[in-house]
């Protein structure tokens, strides 16, 4: 995919989300549910601790996904 130069950041992020959802909608949901942990203000991006929080949140999301799959008849 390619971002549109004239798009706002939010519009390009929506393009990215649509592209990821085509690959794996469930994982895309986990990513975008927790993207706020990575998309932070500042010059240097998210801290190492914030990345750790993101990883834990993704792990919880994957666990929930697995439990949901197991509970299906």
């Amino acid at each position: 995919m390619e971002f549109e130069l004239d798009n706002s950041f939010a519009d390009n992020l929506a393009l990215f989300k649509a592209e990821v959802e085509q690959i794996d909608p469930e994982c895309a949901k986990i990513l975008f549910d927790n993207l706020r942990l990575l998309d932070v203000e500042g010059e240097t991006g998210p801290s190492r601790a914030a990345i750790g929080e993101f990883h834990k949140a993704v792990l919880m999301g994957l666990d929930a996904l697995q439990k949901a799959a197991e509970s299906k008849p």
Partner: protein
């Protein structure tokens, strides 16, 4: 998406720009690079700071001052009669949309206020939207840009062209996908170790399953991936044992009550009596390994002989105190203060021969006796017979309490160099009273090893 260029900038009463009633007006061209040049000290930095204050709400140079220096008090020009800073910005669109005029004011004692003379409904939000894509580069920033690393410079350029948020997010994704971070945050290294340990344990269990199958079914070459075949073979083998057949019935080995099977085998083998017999057999086996042989008794006899020889030598030379007295007398007689070599320095008796040779001969006899004692201690320490009695006493099957074991006190005495003939004779008496290997090695009326389910005795019952 509409883009805006700064078309006009008007400044009054801000920082170094007083211009009371006659604001400084700057006009910029949208299709050109605009530059501002002037001699030092006329307010170029103040122009830059005015744009920054309008968009970001602060002046970096004042923000970095200590609280006590009250940096905010320098925002409004100290000599401006109205004591108010006013910054007007006119933004021109690139797509024909209406221009947007923004006015930012700040009084000496009041907060920054934003309004829009052109009627923009949310002038604060408009300025905030510019914060995302604008970076104002002053001299300090430019100098820093030259010195920083290539990576940091790339980030700065990303900001310059309005891609800072994309750049930050890309860096965040890179940090999130880094293997080291994932391993650390999710404990993957620990999980990997646990998986490997479990795999090793599983492999050991599989080997035990195959070994158990081979022992019960009496066949080799079983494959763990053919569990159904293994179960069938073991079930068949157990059903062929008369004792277990009722327990297996028409079911599989997986349904077998192993506790009941074990009890059935125990009962068949004699129950409690069999257990006692197994215990006795184990005791006999352990005692067989430590039983004294003829050579061990002979070794004890040899030690007793050495002890008696030492005793006789000591009896001949007398007590230890006499030895000391003889040595003192020899030292005295050999000294320069004693002038009559035939006269005894202790009893003053006058002899016919010099005393010194006699004293030296007696002392030599005592030294020989002491040497015999040391030799005995050395022999006892390495004695096979003593070691055997010690091992015998320590064997659990003998049931001898620690306090009653001869070797405990004897070993202490040996460490002090005090080996007595009587102790050695007690050792021999114990050794002689112990049954000899010949008697223990008689054929037993039962198997020497305790029987187990699946071992030869179990198959014998089939």
């Amino acid at each position: 998406m509409t883009r805006y260029f700064l078309g006009n900038l008007t400044v009054e009463g801000f920082r170094g720009i007083n211009n009371d009633g006659d604001p400084l007006v700057l006009k910029f061209k949208a299709d050109a690079v605009n530059s501002i040049h002037a001699p030092n000290g006329v307010g170029k930095s103040s122009i830059f700071e005015a744009v920054h204050f309008a968009i970001y709400g602060n002046v970096p140079r004042l923000k970095s001052l200590q609280d006590a220096e009250q940096g905010d008090s320098y925002i409004v020009n100290k000599f401006h009669p109205g004591q108010q800073a006013t910054i007007d910005l006119l933004f021109r669109s690139d797509d024909g949309s209406p221009d947007i005029a923004i006015r930012v004011t700040r009084g000496a004692n009041s907060a920054r206020a934003v309004s829009s003379p052109s009627g923009h409904p949310q002038p604060e939000d408009f300025l905030a939207s510019l914060q995302e894509d604008f970076v104002l580069v002053d001299y300090g920033r430019f100098a820093k840009l030259i010195d920083i690393s290539a990576l940091e410079r790339g980030r700065s350029f990303a900001s310059l062209v309005g891609l800072s948020r994309y750049s930050r997010l890309r860096q965040a994704f890179e940090g999130a996908k880094r293997t080291q971070n994932i391993n650390g945050d999710l404990g993957l290294s620990t999980l990997d170790t646990e998986v490997k340990t479990s795999e090793r344990a599983l492999s050991a269990i599989e080997r035990r399953i195959i070994a158990a199958h081979d022992a019960v079914a009496g066949a080799g070459g079983a494959a763990i991936d053919k569990l159904v075949d293994l179960k069938t073979a073991v079930t068949s083998a157990l059903s062929a044992i008369a004792l277990l057949k009722p327990l297996v019935g028409d079911g599989s080995v997986m349904d077998l009550d192993f506790e009941a099977a074990e009890k059935a085998v125990e009962k068949e083998e004699g129950g409690e009596a069999r257990k006692k017999l197994d215990g006795l057999t184990t005791a006999v086996t352990s005692l067989s390994t430590v039983a004294l042989a003829d050579g061990d008794i002979a070794d004890l006899d040899r030690l007793i002989g050495l002890a008696k020889t030492r005793d006789e030598a000591i009896n001949r030379v007398g007590a230890h105190e006499l030895h000391a007295l003889l040595k003192d007398a020899l030292a005295f007689v050999g000294g320069s203060d004693w002038h009559d070599p035939k006269r005894c320095p202790i009893c003053e008796a006058q002899g016919e021969e010099p005393l010194k040779p006699k004293l030296e001969a007696r002392i030599a006899e005592y030294d020989a006796a002491a040497e015999l004692g040391a030799e005995l201690v050395k022999e006892v320490t390495t004695s096979v017979g003593i070691a055997k009695v010690r091992q015998l006493e320590d064997t659990a099957a003998m049931g001898i309490g620690t306090a009653d074991r001869l070797h405990v006190a004897f070993d202490l005495a040996v460490k002090k160099g005090e080996v007595t003939t009587a102790d050695l004779e007690k050792f021999k008496a114990t050794a002689v009273a112990t049954p000899r290997p010949r008697a223990l090695n008689r054929p037993l009326p039962f198997p020497a090893e305790p029987s187990r389910l699946g071992s030869p005795p179990a198959r014998r019952m089939a």
